[in-house]
């Protein structure tokens, strides 16, 4: 049984929290650089958000309000279980309202409502190393980052361009942070990449299986990698709107209506969509 009575506040022991906190501070000081840390065992398997959970457990306090989303959804299995674990060993308030939350842990999305400076977004990262697609050895990619040797990454983007006529990466689109480190923004869609640049909020990235923590502080320069004559493109939802709340200009999920067989769209950020429906009195 995991609860506040049988475990330390926020599950992790204080030594583990201190080590993770020290790594977070270094990550903030070196934006985009992957700081190694001693990833701990958790009652959730590695690859299920343990990096993000360890960051959340290390930063969270009694006064915090937590929101957890998975692919934009507050109610998916991963989000519900993480929320349950954190709540049971901290007693913090949980919410689905991204404006009310002080700490948001997310997998694959940045909330639609712009985040504030007093909030922190923790992102779960399966593959923190953006250079892994061009180099399998960790010792080599580490040296490539040390030398800012990113020609392999550029070549990979160029090959993609020549093969498909456009850069085909849909998520985990690599970004350059402060003109120094090529960084994986976690599997957020390209649509969310611009939210990393000159943001108001602090982004913390945790990869439990790969034992890495990195950060993008507020007002940091983050540029999606592209070529002068081939600008970066996001997903295009022009002319489409959410069938539930009517929102446009947001990231939408494409669904097939079982009755009519037509393509329909819904907001991917369920908290945002629910809030709009409550505000404007639209039914389900």
């Amino acid at each position: 049984m995991i609860d506040a009575k049988h475990y330390n506040f926020a599950f992790l022991d204080e030594g583990s929290k201190r080590e993770i906190r020290r790594s977070i501070l270094k990550a903030v000081a070196i934006p985009g650089y992957q700081v190694p840390f001693g990833s701990r065992e958790l009652p959730i398997g590695r690859g299920w958000g343990t990096g993000g959970i360890q960051i959340t457990l290390s930063i969270i306090g009694k006064e915090d309000i937590l929101k957890v989303i998975d692919q934009g959804n507050d109610d998916s299995v991963n989000a519900v279980n993480i929320k349950k674990l954190v709540r049971e060993c901290t007693d913090v308030e949980v919410t689905t309202d991204s404006e009310k939350a002080t700490v948001i842990q997310s997998r694959h999305r940045i909330p639609e409502i712009p985040m504030r400076n007093d909030q922190i977004l923790v992102l779960q990262v399966p593959t923190p190393e953006p250079l892994r697609i061009v180099e399998p050895k960790e010792s080599v990619t580490k040296q490539m980052h040390a030398e800012a040797e990113y020609s392999g990454m550029w070549l990979s983007l160029f090959e993609d361009l020549t093969q498909y006529g456009k850069i085909s990466i849909s998520s985990e689109y690599p970004v350059m942070v402060e003109d120094r480190y090529v960084t994986n923004p976690s599997p957020i869609p390209r649509y969310d990449n611009w939210k990393l640049n000159d943001s108001e909020t602090l982004y913390l990235f945790g990869a439990g299986r790969e034992k890495k923590i990195y950060a993008i502080p507020p007002h940091t320069k983050v540029v999606s990698m592209c070529f002068e004559d081939v600008p970066f493109e996001t997903e295009d939802f022009a002319g489409k709107c959410c069938r539930l709340c009517g929102a446009t200009g947001v990231y939408l999920d494409e669904l097939i209506d079982e009755k009519t067989g037509e393509k329909v769209y819904e907001c991917n950020d369920t908290g945002f969509c629910r809030g709009r429906r409550m505000r404007y009195g639209r039914g389900e």
Binding site: E14, R18, L25, V28, I30, Y33, I59, K142, P217
Partner: protein
């Protein structure tokens, strides 16, 4: 008659440590924003209370510290955290408990760990106690965490130390991160990329 046994400090390593960390994180992520840990620091007695609160938040037996010419503070930090003392060029955290002359400051900043290109996180963090952080000197900051340019009024020592560090022109990603603390529990974080212009 049995005497009442009282703890020499009331600092809660779990909850107060978390609060100090969040203020420190906010200070490092938003250079130029002055944060405050007075409520937590007051749980220690003495003039070095903010240092002890920061020390108990960051240090343990896995880290090495260097405390400049202050054996009492060093022994207190060690007994609270089990952190070992090390030479200047090996320490992870450098505690400067008094305002130093600028020549010595430059020597310290030159000789501490700056990290390596492969492991820039293996660099020292310098924590400086000064009589006050706010003051009459205007200082304009730029860099990650700062929205364009930010002008704040600081104590002349704070500005000068940052200028000395900037003057060393340590090539990024190598560098040194600074944390200023004063007796009122104010904190000012200056990560390595932040520049005074």
């Amino acid at each position: 008659m049995a005497e009442e046994i009282r703890s020499v400090y009331q600092f809660d390593f779990v909850h107060d440590g978390q609060k100090v960390f969040r203020e420190l994180l906010s200070a490092m992520a938003n250079p130029g924003q002055i944060r405050n840990i007075r409520t937590q620091a007051e749980k220690f007695a003495g003039e070095y209370a903010p240092f002890l609160a920061l020390g108990c938040t960051l240090l343990d037996n896995e880290e090495k510290m260097y405390v400049e010419k202050n054996p009492r503070l060093s022994s207190e930090l060690h007994s609270l955290t089990l952190c070992r003392e090390a030479d200047l060029d090996l320490a992870d955290y450098i505690f400067l408990s008094s305002e130093m002359n600028y020549g010595s400051m430059e020597q310290i900043l030159k000789n501490i760990r700056h990290g390596t290109y492969a492991d820039p996180q293996e660099s020292a963090t310098v924590i400086l106690l000064c009589s006050q952080i706010g003051g009459d000197d205007e200082m304009t900051l730029t860099g990650p965490g700062v929205n364009g340019k930010l002008t704040i009024n600081v104590y002349s020592y704070v500005k000068k130390v940052i200028q000395i560090l900037n003057g060393l022109k340590i090539e990024y990603p190598l560098g040194v991160d600074l944390v200023f603390a004063d007796g009122e529990g104010n904190l000012l974080g200056i990560p390595r990329l932040v520049q005074v212009i």
